[in-house]
């Protein structure tokens, strides 16, 4: 089967590649474009570690058809820092010991980023809901929730 072309904006840069017709976005990002921010956990939609933003909305890259991203804006954790300056959420995750092995961190950061972009002052329940599709097997969820709430209060945290 012939490969299909696909073009989208990835973390602000235009990218183009060729994919197998049923390729998922996660494979395309990691193997095709060398963006190792989103991770491969389950491939089933259950762990959330592959969460990316597609036109600002959280989506599971492992379940997203790559060709369906034609012309869209994709954002991953690889594009969160501003040069040497970490995103306020990344800072808060470090300050609150919200990452242990770090495997879930890209998905957690992306889920949190999607939440804060829409709701800059979320309640604890709203944070819990926002990360309800993401599994962490190390730190437990408390430090992660605390970090997201702290970032929500932090000056400049509203930077999407």
């Amino acid at each position: 089967m012939a490969k299909l072309p696909v073009q989208f904006r990835l973390n602000g840069s235009d990218r183009a590649t060729f994919v197998d017709p049923a390729s998922n976005l996660l494979d395309t990002l990691r193997r095709g474009l060398g963006d190792f921010g989103p991770k491969y956990g389950c491939g089933q939609g259950t762990c959330g570690v592959c969460t990316v933003l597609v036109d600002g909305e959280p989506q599971l890259a492992c379940l997203t058809l790559a060709v369906a991203c034609e012309g869209r804006q994709i954002e991953t954790t690889s594009g969160m820092a501003d040069g040497p300056n970490l995103h306020p959420l990344q800072d808060a995750f470090m300050d609150h010991f919200a990452a242990q092995c770090g495997f879930c961190t890209p998905g957690m950061l992306t889920a949190a980023r999607a939440l804060l972009a829409k709701n800059p002052q979320p309640s604890r329940e709203e944070v819990v809901e926002a990360i309800s599709g993401n599994i962490c097997r190390c730190t437990g969820y408390e430090p992660i929730i605390a970090a997201i709430l702290a970032a929500a209060d932090a000056p400049g945290a509203r930077r999407a």
Binding site: P21, G43, P58, C62, A111, G133
Partner: protein
Amino acid sequence: MLDLRTCASLSEAAGILSGDRQALLIGGGTLVMREVNEGRLTEGTLVRVTDPAFRQISAGGARVELGAGVTMAMLLANRDLAYLHAPARGIGGPPVRTMATIGGNLFAGTPYGDFTVALLALDAQVVLQSGYGSGRAVSLEDFLSARERGGQGLVTAVQFARPQNPAELHFRKISRVKPKGISVLSIAAYLPLSGGRVTQARVAYGAMAPTPIRARGVERALDGKPLDQAAIQAAKQAALEGCRPATDAIASEWYRREILPVHLGRLLAGEPR
């Protein structure tokens, strides 16, 4: 290897689906892509629809029509559909809801299909299009009982009468893991009151049979009665009529049978879970 066809019109997609037995529609892909990733779906053609009609919401009038490609997130963003927010919010976490469609939920195997349970309580119709002709409406109940036979073509939309009093539609998803476990079961009940009595109750369950089902026994027990202790007791007694729950990784058949009347009673009494 899998091929992909992107269709700009619904009739093109319906034509491909009815002409090619190996063609499969991909909606949000939350279930289809699992099959692809796990190597269970390797041959045939995935059919993708980009027709804006597939994602159209018409919710303001007396008759509501939702395109089958409407996602749970789109429903949650629509204020006219607030009465459907509880079942939409019950599906997966936020990234799943960005992707999961109403159409896909109609085909989701038990114990999924929570949104479909709410549609059953609304007595929805499914618009089916096979081949290039126009769609025909069939009742959701008939659609579900035929579903296992497969090959029904393309679902383009669902339709239902807008509930006159949205507060009369109730939905509960019962799961063991908070906040986002898979359903042990789900219940939707549309209970319009007229002169203090229930008229034309419609009650539906998820995960209590191979597909979502209407709870006819409960509907009979409630119709024409005030929602008092006696009616609730009668409804609980009739709760299991027609149920054929499975034992699966989420719960045993026994457990589902035990807890259904309890949760139904609480829903009818307006008590918390």
